[in-house]
């Protein structure tokens, strides 16, 4: 569970000018929710996500992750959190340009010296799950935007995070690719992960169980989505081939 209490971030723009990017945000993200964080460009979504994941300290307020205050954590603790708890999917830079898709997926393991041979199979499995099974030795610049985004999701999965956090995973994608990415995230949510997606595209709300809307740094609305009650959409998501694969996968795991 992630709790934000009175979270604020003030950016220093010039010597005298300050900018309230996030203003006293109270937010609770429970386990196994799919939270959509929407709002206009510049409303503070990315900033809020950076605060939640400990990528920078807040000016005021507190983030509590599973009962642990982030402000109490040293650099080492924050690194550990980023490594194991959060799986971040960013719009840019999504992938390391020097490495192939498969290498990108295992990159978090390699760079933290945790790589083992078995992990390669896991990486290959994740890549097939996101539909890139046949593109593993391609380089990022040989992929389309949607494919890059899906590869980034596979990479976020390799560290087996509890929470997947995606900042603008559908930006600059056409509708169909965007839906593909969102369905994938939905499938992961269905398989038990907590998912947070920040986007200015309200399409995300169709997949989320909860939604938060931001307006110039403040949380304007927070609550369940209409989607949570509308079962037909769950069905739509459940029918996606990726989800089938994942559910087969989790069945095998539980056996």
């Amino acid at each position: 569970m992630i709790e934000c209490i009175g979270l604020s971030k003030i950016y220093r723009v010039t010597r005298t000018k300050r900018l309230f990017a996030v203003k006293s945000v109270d937010l609770v993200i429970k386990e196994n929710t799919f939270l959509s964080l929407t709002g206009r460009s510049g409303s503070g979504k990315s900033t809020l996500i950076a605060l939640i994941t400990g990528m920078m300290p807040p000016t005021e307020g507190e983030v509590i992750v599973d009962g642990q205050k982030l402000s109490d954590l040293e650099e080492r603790g924050l690194t550990k959190l980023r490594r194991g708890y959060f799986g971040c999917i960013r719009q840019y830079p999504a992938l390391h340009p020097s490495l192939t898709v498969l290498e990108n997926v295992i990159l978090p393991l390699v760079v933290t010296s945790l790589f083992k041979k078995e992990k390669k199979c896991a990486a290959e499995r994740y890549l097939s799950q996101v539909g890139l099974g046949n593109r593993m030795d391609h380089y990022p610049k040989q992929l389309s935007g949607g494919e890059v985004r899906r590869a980034a999701i596979a990479r976020a999965l390799i560290m087996e995070p509890e929470v997947l956090i995606a900042d603008e995973p559908t930006a600059s994608l056409d509708r169909e690719s965007a839906v593909q990415v969102l369905r994938l995230l939905k499938a992961l949510h269905m398989s038990g992960k907590t998912v947070v997606v920040a986007s200015h595209d309200s399409l995300v709300e169709n997949y989320a169980t909860e939604q938060a809307r931001m307006e110039s740094g403040k949380l304007a609305y927070c609550g369940l989505t209409k989607y949570t009650s509308g079962q037909n959409r769950i069905k739509e998501a459940a029918e996606s081939p990726v989800l089938e694969q994942l559910s087969i996968d989790s069945e095998q795991k539980s056996r």
Partner: protein
Amino acid sequence: MIKKPIDIVKKNIVRFPRRTLLLLSSFMLTGFVLFSSIYMFQSVSNGAELIEGRAGADLIISSGKFNPYSLTGEKDTYFNGKELLEFLGKNERITAVAPQLYLETISTVCCGTEGNFPVVAIDPKNDFTLKPFQVLSEPLGDKEVVIGAKAGGDRFIFHAGDEQIEEKVLLFYETYTVKDSLFQTGSGIDDTIYMSLPEAENIISSPFYIKELPKNPLSAVFVQVDKGETDKAANEIEEKFPHLHLQFGNELKGNLQQFLQPMKILSFGVVILVLCMNILQVLTQFIGIVNERKQELGMLRVMGASKWQVAKLMLLEAWLAGAGGGALGIVLSFAVFYDQKDLILIVIELPLIFPVWQEAILYGAGTAVFLGLWAAGGAGLAIRSLLKSPPFYLVQEGESV
């Protein structure tokens, strides 16, 4: 397939072939200059050490005042050396004896150099005063001479060792073959022509030689004594041969050291200068590289890599460039030294003793490792401030792009 952090580094290096090439070249030049300087410095030191250790005579015996700077006896003072040589040969403190006989200063042309050259005879078997300066280190035979650097030696050196070219010099109506020449020493050796003592005896007994000399004539005897025994040996000689003049050789050594000093200072200065230039270059390059990869490095931080794990990638890359480029330069420098040995000797005109190859490899490896660490240090400085800022600021910049 990447497995370890170093594999990521390799892939990064391959991704920018042109920049890698530039980086390597810059370190290659630094390695070249650095190693050359060290190698040269060491060779000069070796040369000086040899002169101090072996060539420097502890005692110089003559009948008149001996001039240590000219290394030859005052022109016309001779003595009968038979008894002295016998005495010195028996004395246990004395380790080496090198007699010399000054014959005449002759106006002649030697190897295309015209001038007045003192002709001095030495004992080729026992002499230690010339050996360290000899270019070819070949012993003197009949009808052969060794010439100083300013007595045509600096020209002879160009074809030293070439059997096709024979240089002749006319002395006392006889033709002599130039066998070898001497490096510049900054002393009287430089314009002297040396021949063997038996050859000198022939000249003395010829009708053309008009100077009156005592029997078994000698003008100076250079003596090396066991360490710390010089004073005792000097006393003994003085007691037995009160008419002879004794001089201590320390002065001579100091003179040579002084002569080599500018050379040492110069190579030291070059090393410092090149390193300063290099670190500026390293910093410029790596600040560029680090900024360019800001988002990439930030991405690694977001994935859960610690500061050190991110820094390690840059440091490794710098280390590889520094040590690799440096090694190339060192190999090149060594090849030049090996291939152009003669040319270097001509240009430097000093007694140089190149380090043995094991020593050279040690210097090379040391230099390469040092350059690697040097580069890594530069990269570390470049990446330091970047790692201080929170990861979000690193990845954020690319967002709007």
